[in-house]
Symmetry: C2
Subunit: 193 residues, 2 copies
């Protein structure tokens, strides 16, 4: 049982779903491929934390719909009381930024622009999630029940949006510094693109 297993349980205690749907649901908050999720679900089922029923579909392939068991719920509750591992970030682009003085301005700008595109895509996705669940998130957050699934989702999505927005903010800040110096130096850097 690793963090991913508990992440899967966290979803399944709210709603039963297939491994495929779990993957899609978890992606924005914990990156995991199907090749990691399917064997893990099998192991969790063997351990008695989840169970599945086969749902046959005519238009789409059949699927296994997983649910959390009582044992799964109590394992999750135990895990919740444990202290958390430190946050881990692996941002290859930041390493490239650190070494960017070896290259040229156009290269650095390209990395920043790529990141901006990726952020915007993620932003649209998160805003979609926010809007999808906005009916659960009452207008007045102060009046919301703070120990409800809706509130937990709400603060999680807020956090994710905040992270993406701060990434965008930083990219634009660096881009502006780059543009300013390009103008000041009078060289036409656009030709290098």
């Amino acid at each position: 049982m690793n963090s991913l297993a508990y992440a899967l349980l966290s979803v399944l205690t709210r709603e039963s779903m297939s491994g495929y749907d779990l993957m899609l649901r978890i992606q924005p908050f914990w990156q995991a491929k199907h090749s990691q999720i399917y064997p893990l679900l099998s192991k969790m089922e063997q351990a008695g934390y989840v169970e599945h029923i086969l749902v046959e579909q005519s238009d789409k392939p059949d699927k296994k719909v997983y649910s959390s068991t009582e044992a799964g719920l109590s394992a999750l509750r135990d895990w919740l009381s444990q202290p958390s591992a430190d946050l881990v970030t692996r941002d290859e682009m930041l390493i490239k930024v650190y070494a960017s003085w070896l290259g040229d301005r156009a290269e650095l700008r390209r990395h920043l622009e790529d990141r901006i595109v990726a952020c915007q895509k993620r932003l649209r996705h998160l805003e979609g999630l926010r809007d999808k669940y906005s009916s659960d998130f009452q207008a007045d957050a102060g009046a919301m029940d703070l120990l409800s699934p809706a509130f937990s989702s709400y603060i999680l999505i807020r956090r994710s949006l905040q992270i993406v927005n701060s990434d965008l903010e930083w990219c634009h800040w660096v881009l502006e510094l780059l543009m300013q110096q390009e103008l000041a130096s009078g060289t036409d850097m656009t030709s290098t693109t």
Copy 2:
């Protein structure tokens, strides 16, 4: 050659240092233990990207001081021109927050407070780095050479500080929502601590 290898090269093209020092230097931006770094440096040396000399010390254990070779520099330059892998974050606490509705307010608050402490520690460390290199970071960022090691370090540290501060901001926001409801409901949640 993985991301970590290029991260090591990025440091070594600026300054020669031991595996131990590389570990300390890289930690804030790319988590890696010594047990991953030492074997990797050996592999990189075999591949001709780095080389080392043995420096004997009387007060401390002897060390191997690594430097980047020409081949290492050009490998790094090639890597810089490649598109970056997506940002990966693994934040166990966020999963716990998502499942926090299964627990109680005190538990959620404890997680947030633990994170705040961790952030403050990291903040102090990053501010230390910023101050240490502040002489390189001229007061007027606009006048700084944008393709210098100093500028690259400057924007990297700015980004790291921004990330920590936004984390802190979010934690305090959630904590305040929690406190408000505790007051409103009139229950004395502090007794659960």
